[in-house]
Amino acid sequence: MLTIKDLAVKFPSRFGDVTAIEDVDLTIRPGEIHGLVGESGAGKSTVGAAVIGLISTPGYIANGKITLDDTDLRALTPEQAHAVRGDRISMIFQDPQTSLNPLMTVEEQLIETIQTHSDVSTQDAHKRAVDLLEEIGIKDAAQRIKSYPHQFSGGMRQRVVIALALCTDPELIIADEPTTALDVAVQQQVLDLLRELADRRNIAFLLITHDIGVIAQIADRVTVMRNGKALESGETAQVLGRPQHPYTVALMDAVPPLDRKIPRFRLPVEDDIAAQHTTRGTDAQNWLLEGEQTPPTGLTVQNLTMRFRGTRTSLWQKPDHFTALDDISFAVRPGTIMGLVGESGSGKSTLAKVLTGLLNPSQGTMTLGDAPLPSARQRSRHHPSRRLMQMVFQDPYSSLNSRHKIGTILAEPLWLYGLVNDAGERRALATSMLDLVGMPADALDKYPHQFSGGQRQRIAVARAILARPKFLICDEPTSALDVSIQAQVLNLLKDLQATFGLTILFITHNMSVARQMADDMIVLRNGRIEETGASETLFTTPQAPYTQTLLDLTPAMPSTWAASNA
């Protein structure tokens, strides 16, 4: 029903026209979920925007044909396009927070949309809105419809967004990363709902996502995109199970499997970053090893509790407490990687902040190696743990100061901890360290914005390692990165850990990634430990029901796919 032929979209710029996508062919049949997968910058969203006619200015369609049944979407006048947009094509966005108007009730938004597109009375529209909400699985819809968006949870809100998209009974829904902002459990529900709608209402979906697990789970057909070109297209099992194009093969290799642990991710040889790797990194390696005379350091946490004071609601009543961490005890064995998994709000990041001394715990003791680790308020600026414990943050775009050069950023730990006193030596060491993490030496005089997310994360890792730490906390270090880059960064972390005998606390929400990295595991939920133990045991025979649920809900590929890793 939807046919795209030779589509090309260009964006004029000061440097001439930039081609966002070209030669994209795509066909979607009714009731089909068509996955559009690719890494950031592949042009996935641009395809969606072109179909719905909402390419952000000043972009324009340079070439190609988009037809919906018999309608040529490119030949429409703006008014006709507007009508088609509402009636026959709908869109679901990534963030349910921002795609609903926070000042209107769900009822008002649904009725408004229904009445815009069909001439019905408010009563009828109301009835249809309630039916829709019931259809998409909101219980007690007649009551809930009076609520404002913020009164719904994230998953429920995304359901409301889907209901809005269904208002006009569309033939095609474009879903742009519809589950990326959601936790696995909620993601599962939303994906089930999409599948159900496709089957029952015969709606076609263009599902745009970077998550191959999601595609593997619900898409009938898939198109793989890279750099604005469609590389491979076909049945999902065919494309992902027996990929033909080298890029798809590489992509599948980079996806961490949930059902087994692989020693290293296999990276394609023509990898643009790792290819420049030479042997000069040995200087940094030798320097780092000089300091590593002591055996690896473990970490013990006992009865750690973190309570936040709630907002005061009354002048006389004490505000309620919110318990982010509830009586947490665990030990990280020296020289191993401890995986810490949990959904958002489980207290993962709070734990990292307590350990690094950014938050003062309400109770509990921490021990780093043999020495007690004072909590935030008692930990002085010169405490040895400031150097021994380093952290790699989730967002490589905010963890590096955008106004400092890479050289300055890397030299900082060296002079701050008095490790190297000569500026020239610091620079040489920083250069060598860049090489060790697979970055070119000329990066030294550049600013962070000149690098991609993966490269920045390498720099962040280099900064942490240059402090000669014994203990590294990685807080979701790869969740902002594309899979192929994620594979590179994970490989790098594994290498560094093995070489320098680091102890790592690896925080993630992604069970597959955790399995690849961790020796031991902690499963955290609502600030409590649900399960802890050796990683492989936990993944093969989970004890806690919650761990089992997490494993079941994580979108995974059949183990026969991507066999090249085995």
């Binding site: 000061r14 440097f15 690094t356 001394g357 950014l358 002085s380 600026r381 010169h382 405490h383 400031r386 150097r387 380093q390 952290m391 943050f393 989730q394 967002d395 905010s398 963890s399 590096l400 100061n401 955008s402 106004r403 400092h404 900082e412 730990p413 701050l416 900064r463 402090a467």
Partner: protein, 301 residues
């Protein structure tokens, strides 16, 4: 050159904004004229021997009875209007720049520290700022001026006039900087690079000025230009009211006050020319401020 233009976004935006170019030219001409006043002005309005009463009240050249020597006419003392204005702008700009600099240093330091430390220090600084915002800037300036007049002995009062005025204006403008710096600092505090610096155990002073400060510079530059215009206006207002600079060292405001006496007696240029000059200066600085705001805030483009 073209390669440079393409790389530098601010420059590219600048050459595509006629308003910004005109404003920059006007401001530049005024600033250069003021800076080099002693070399380009016809007479020195402070030196009584350099002008003559006989040249008094001459109109601009395009009116009848003008002396072509005095392009924009003379005032009642026989001073060349252009010379008076250039010297006046020199004083106005000096006071404006000095006041803005003091306000920036004071406001940014307090705002940064308030945002960084939070808690009680933040509360105290911001409540003081709130109280001050409740008073009009002119009232604050009047208050400080009054206190200085009361405290300083009469003989050094005249000498310190310019500095008292500068301080009065600075103290009524620091709040803008403190608030902006604090708000921007709070945003930066949540960024991981600041958290990383805190975690590593860096000195708070270093975190504030080496890490956070360069990242909040954008909005501060905008406020600096806008407040430079405010400072010049405030000085003009105070001088106009007669509590600023005295008539023997006239700033633009003083010139306007003197000109007021001739408003209804036909010698319109004595009032209007300094006034238009002040308007041109303030408007062009404000337009530049607007332009800077657009550069630093891509969403407004």
């Amino acid at each position: 050159m073209i390669a440079l233009l393409k790389r530098n976004e601010a420059l590219w935006l600048f050459i595509h904004s006629p308003a910004a170019i005109i404003a920059a030219l006007v401001a530049l001409a005024i600033i250069l004229g003021a800076a080099f006043a002693p070399w380009i002005a016809l007479v020195d309005p402070y030196d009584l021997s350099s002008f003559s009463l006989f040249d008094g009240l001459l109109p601009p050249v395009w009116e009848d009875g003008a002396n072509p020597k005095y392009l924009l006419g003379t005032d009642d003392q026989g001073r060349d209007m252009i010379s008076s204005i250039l010297y006046g702008a020199r004083l106005s700009l000096f006071i404006g720049l000095a006041a803005m600099t003091i306000a920036t240093v004071l406001g940014v330091s307090l705002g940064l520290a308030a945002g960084y430390y939070g808690g009680r220090f933040d509360a105290i600084v911001m409540r003081i700022a709130d109280v001050q915002l409740a008073l009009p800037a002119i009232l604050t300036a009047l208050l400080i001026d009054g206190i200085a007049r009361g405290l300083l002995p009469a003989d050094i009062q005249q000498e310190l006039r310019v500095w008292v005025l500068t301080l009065a204006i600075a103290l009524s403008l620091w709040v803008n900087f403190a608030r902006t710096a604090r708000a921007s600092t709070l945003v930066q505090m949540n960024k991981d690079y600041v958290q990383a610096a805190v975690m590593m155990g860096q000195r708070p002073i270093r975190i504030m000025f080496v890490h956070i400060f360069p990242n909040i510079l954008g909005p501060l530059l905008v406020i600096m230009t806008v407040d430079l215009a405010s400072a010049i206006l405030l000085e003009a207002t105070l001088s106009f009211l007669g509590i600023g600079l005295p008539a023997d060292s006239p700033s633009l405001g003083t010139l306007i006050r003197i000109g007021m006496q001739f408003l209804l007696s036909g010698e319109w240029w004595i009032l209007w020319i300094p006034t238009l000059f002040l308007v041109a200066l303030v408007v062009s600085i404000n337009v530049l401020g607007d332009f800077l705001r657009d550069v630093f805030n891509p969403r407004l483009r």
